[in-house]
């Protein structure tokens, strides 16, 4: 069944995923109609820009339709994928720039597939949940959102390093405009900070790509070809540093994290959701680790990264505890969770890597739900300052249930999705780094503190709800409720039955660890703990429950 499906869709599925949003973006911009709710926009100069698109279908609906088709394609990829096969699947490899050796090479494996499916499914849900929040220049917004989707899909599917770089940068400009045009009052500064910090990293990476290609003597940018290069240790260290900086900045690892709270605070909710996707750590697993295994296992380099990860876990959680706004709490919680992901990536055991990918997926789901809830709060109350709410549990019971559930998932309560990844990372790294894991575990406790503090301030406690406008705040309604119900189901389902995801990523993570271990050579490979198979990982998971 799977093979028959693969032979039918394998050749076009990924190019379609990549190009369809771009085509959709052009359509939405050209024929989409702007939405202008009565009395919302009185500024005169807002009129002529989209006057061209005054007729035609609603741009929001069009965007949603394009994204739904994209999500359907993503789900199709999920079921086409064969978890028992090694190597890339659904590959396509077409000539693109023959003089440079760059090719249009796309493919997925067990690490990229969950991220790809998560992204494609998240986008329409996030758009639905924030349906009324973008009310001006909707055709342009829709087009940018779709271009952004295409960039994300490109990042998760590109096997050609130059193509990956283009997709990596393609994400940046739409996001810049989404923050810069539809953001809150501090938007310009946040947007420029975001772009310049990210560009700093990615331009260093560009120089490293050029050096890798030219001085490594590669003939193409295809990942498989680049993996065959043999680089010396010092060369690997330099190139790895450049790549890692780019990815660490993008994933907001402490001390490169300062853009994330600003950007997520100023961005419209859907922008904050997309910023929460872990493209940076994905790129570390896809490119930085396999390309430069000697550097990744280098004692000093690895220690620095692991210590930064643990600092991120504790620091992020501590800072999250004192944030006045819900969105800032969520941003610092992201920074804390990013530490777990990094810890998992650089513990370099299969269990830890699987755990890291699980956190990337689960955190994507949970944080999205939380940002959407913060958006609901802002839509009703005008802001999301924790201290000015209270007692909302009585007037918004469904909202209260959702917020509590999502926060518990953030904490990593067993039975929710947040537990699976963190647990795998911790047991996967414990054999190698008992001390660091010991410190990291305190992050879970701090997480409980900041999450429960937020829940308590918003939902319970002294009823600031005495304020008259708070009484009129309605509970979650049809559209919002539907979307968040999907998130709730996903959170619980992945918490109880993560096997479909784990099973699909098993081969890819095993291959990654095998490659790193092989490069490290016999001496250190003997020291490495026996690779935990997924069976044993699952066993320990069950045991822990």
């Amino acid at each position: 069944m799977t093979n028959a499906l693969a032979s039918q869709v394998g050749g076009w599925l990924l190019p379609a995923l990549l190009l369809w949003p771009l085509i959709g973006a052009v359509i939405v911009r050209l024929v989409g109609r702007d939405v202008r709710p009565a009395g919302a926009s009185t500024s005169l100069d807002a009129m002529p820009a989209d006057a061209l698109a005054s007729g035609g279908p609603d741009a929001r609906v069009l965007t949603l339709l394009v994204l739904l088709v994209e999500a359907a394609l993503g789900v199709l990829a999920w079921f086409t994928f064969d978890g028992t096969a090694d190597g890339w699947q659904l590959t396509i490899n077409l000539p693109w720039l023959p003089d440079l050796g760059a090719r249009l090479a796309l493919g997925v494996d067990g690490i990229s597939l969950p991220m790809l499916v998560l992204t494609t499914c998240l986008m329409p849900l996030a758009l639905l949940a924030t349906w009324r929040q973008i009310a001006t220049r909707v055709p342009t917004f829709g087009a940018l959102l779709l271009a952004l989707t295409s960039g994300l899909v490109g990042v998760f599917t590109a096997l050609d390093l130059l193509l990956f770089y283009l997709a990596w940068e393609l994400m940046l400009i739409p996001m810049y405009f989404i923050i810069g045009i539809w953001g809150a009052s501090g938007r310009t500064r946040a947007a420029i900070k975001y772009v310049i910090l990210t560009m700093f990293g990615s331009l260093l990476m560009l120089a490293a790509i050029a050096a890798l290609y030219v001085q490594g003597g590669a003939t193409s940018f295809h990942l498989d070809d680049l993996l065959r290069l043999s680089l010396g240790e010092s060369q690997q260290l330099w190139l790895f540093t450049a790549f890692f900086l780019a990815f660490a900045i993008k994933s907001a690892l402490v001390p490169f994290h300062t853009w994330l709270p600003d950007a997520q605070f100023e961005a419209p909710v859907i922008g904050a959701v997309v910023l929460g996707l872990k493209v940076g750590t994905y790129a570390i697993l896809r490119f930085a680790l396999p390309l430069f295994p000697l550097a990744a296992t280098h004692e000093v380099m690895r220690s620095v990264i692991l210590i930064l990860s643990v600092i991120a876990i504790v620091y992020g959680a501590l800072v999250a505890m004192v944030q006045p706004d819900l969105r800032k709490v969520l941003s610092y919680s992201s920074i804390s969770h990013l530490g777990f992901i990094m810890l998992g990536c650089f513990a370099l055991t299969q269990t830890a890597v699987q755990g890291a990918v699980m956190i990337m997926v689960n955190h994507g789901i949970t944080t999205s739900a939380l940002f959407l809830l913060a958006g609901v709060l802002r839509e009703r109350g005008g802001h999301d300052t924790l201290a000015s709410y209270g007692g909302l549990a009585r007037i918004m019971p469904l909202f209260a249930v959702m917020l509590t559930l999502s926060m518990l998932s953030t904490v990593g309560l067993p039975g929710t999705n947040g537990f699976v990844g963190e647990f795998l990372v911790l047991i996967g790294s414990f054999g190698r780094e008992p001390w660091l894991v010991g410190i990291a575990t305190t992050g879970v406790i701090f997480a409980a503190v900041y999450a429960l503090r937020a829940v308590q301030l918003v939902l319970f406690g002294p009823a600031q709800a005495a304020a008259p406008e708070a009484r009129t705040m309605g509970d979650l309604r049809g559209r919002e409720l539907g979307v968040l119900a999907v998130f709730a189901v996903a959170m619980l389902w992945l918490g109880v039955a993560p096997q479909p995801v784990l099973q699909r990523m098993e081969r890819a993570s095993a291959a990654l660890i095998a490659r790193v271990d092989a490069a490290r050579g016999a001496t250190t490979a003997a020291a490495s703990s026996k690779p935990l198979t997924i069976g044993s990982a699952r066993g320990s998971l069950e045991e822990a429950r």
Partner: protein, 506 residues
């Protein structure tokens, strides 16, 4: 063998230049002939565009037939000449179109201006063709004299006159250096042909000549510390002329620099390579850092053009066959982005003789989304941003690749280039943020209707930039036809000479 004795050969070698000059002279006569009531400026401008197109056709023809070289080695018929000529013709055609649009609004320009642009262009084309220092100097002076006048084109503007005078005084000074260097080189070698200079051994006289020559050339390309004229002249000259100078003069100056270094100054590479290394680094850093502080857009673009001269110097320093095609491709992209950006600035500038500032751009997207989008694409191309900035990314990529693939890899310079680009994001994004993120202030009037020719320039440059940004192969192939490689012995000297630059630049 002697060219003078064989006028037929000279004629065929210089056919495009002669076509251009004849066209320019006819237009000069015609502009004098016609009375004021026919608006002679617009007529000559449009006819000048025609002359440029005809010249482009002869260039393509000459390239396909392999014409152009003379037996005595004073003129080159290689792809480098023709590819650079095409870039120059593109830039001039665009600048002429912008001049026409600007004149339609301000009526400030004389009918002789387009003719002067054609004359400057013919000087540039002689520069790209020449393999003899005397030819180079004549071409350069023909170009420079015309551009001195062009910088003062707006006779009603005191700033324009100031720009012209400044440019003239400093330019004459630089020409003096250049000529002195040429004289010393002739004294050392006994020949003005680059081939003979490249075969000579580098004695003291030779080296002094090289040093003086480099000063003159660094002035012409606008490298730090010989850059101080650029912001004043760019700011004072009318927008179309600034575009012409940014695109055309810079292209010609780099063609000249590369021709002289690749063919003539190989023996002295150990001496000029470290010097140029520091010039490149200083130019990239200073150009970008000072540009950050500008609120006047033309001054900002002037400093940005200085920074781009630094990037181009990195390609020159790579000193390989890749360097030539990199230069051609980069200058093509730079020309397109410059034309697009100045086309928008010409429309946004509401009054003449008042600098266009970031305030004029504020909220532009809300009133004229098309203009804002064009300027954003051009600025992102300057920045070297992929996809959204089109071919700008590949231009920078080729420079990086050439720098790292050089016989002695310019790793440090590549990192300086990358970090300088991050700095440049500050001001390019600042301008973009002003256009998109801010509301349009009530006191700033909406820009005028876009003139048709400006619109054509914008659409063409943005389209070509974006298409080349996804599929650069055709332009890259065209550029690689423009290979002008340093000789093999020279490449060997670079490896030994790089010891000097590496030790000079830790």
């Amino acid at each position: 063998m002697n060219t003078i004795a064989n006028p037929g050969a000279l004629l065929s070698a210089l056919l495009p230049e002669i076509t251009l000059l004849v066209g320019a002279l006819i237009l000069l006569l015609a502009s004098a002939w016609r009375g004021e009531r026919y608006s002679p400026t617009q007529l000559t401008t449009r006819w000048a565009i025609g002359v440029v197109l005809v010249t482009a056709a002869t260039v393509v023809l000459a390239w396909m037939r392999g014409d152009g070289a003379t037996d005595d080695g004073r003129l080159a018929g290689d792809g480098f000449r023709w590819a650079m000529d095409l870039v120059l013709l593109l830039g001039t055609a665009g600048a002429l179109a912008l001049l026409d649009a600007e004149h339609g609004r301000t009526r400030a320009y004389q009918a002789e201006l387009p003719v002067l642009m054609l004359l400057a262009l013919s000087g540039m084309m002689i520069v790209t063709a020449a393999r003899d220092l005397m030819f180079l100097y004549i071409g350069l002076e023909l170009m420079s004299l015309a551009v001195y006048v062009l910088a003062g084109a707006n006779r009603r503007s005191a700033r324009s006159a100031e720009a012209s005078l400044k440019y003239f005084l400093l330019g004459a000074f630089a020409s003096g250096f250049l000529l002195y260097g040429i004289a010393l080189l002739y004294g050392a070698v006994g020949d003005t042909r680059l081939a003979a200079i490249g075969a000579a051994s580098a004695g003291p006289l030779y080296l002094v000549g090289v040093a003086l020559l480099l000063v003159g050339l660094a002035f012409k390309v606008g490298a730090v510390p010989f850059h101080l004229w650029t912001p004043d002249v760019y700011d004072g000259a009318p927008s179309p002329i600034t575009a012409f100078m940014a695109a055309g003069v810079k292209t010609a100056a780099f063609a000249l620099l590369w021709r002289v270094l690749a063919e003539g100054l190989g023996p002295a590479i150990a001496h000029w390579h470290p010097v140029l290394w520091w010039l490149a680094a200083a130019t990239m850093v200073l150009g970008n850092v000072v540009a950050l502080a500008q609120s006047n857009l033309k001054r900002m673009l002037a400093y940005s053009s200085i920074a781009h001269a630094g990037y181009l110097l990195v390609a020159v320093l790579a000193y390989s066959d890749r360097a030539a095609s990199t230069l051609v491709f980069y200058l093509l992209v730079y020309t397109l982005a410059t034309l697009g950006a100045f086309a928008v600035l010409g429309v946004v500038a509401e009054q003449e003789d008042r600098p266009v500032t970031l305030e004029d751009l504020a909220g532009l997207w809300h009133v004229r989304p098309g203009l804002a989008a064009v300027l954003a694409v051009c600025l992102l191309a300057f920045l070297g941003f992929p996809i959204a900035g089109g071919a700008g990314f590949f231009a920078k990529w080729y420079v990086l690749q050439a720098a790292l693939a050089s016989p002695s890899p310019l790793t440090v310079l590549a990192i300086v280039l990358v970090l300088a680009s991050v700095v440049s994001a500050g001001y390019y994004l600042g301008a973009i943020a002003a256009m998109f993120n801010r509301a349009r202030p009530a006191e700033v009037a909406a820009p005028v209707q876009t003139p048709i020719l400006s619109g054509i320039v914008m659409v063409v440059s943005v389209t070509v930039l974006l298409v080349l940004g996804v599929y650069p192969t055709p332009a890259a192939r065209l550029a690689s036809g423009g290979t002008l490689a340093p000789g093999p012995t020279v490449a060997a000297t670079l490896t030994s000479g790089s010891g000097g630059s590496a030790s000079a630049a830790p």
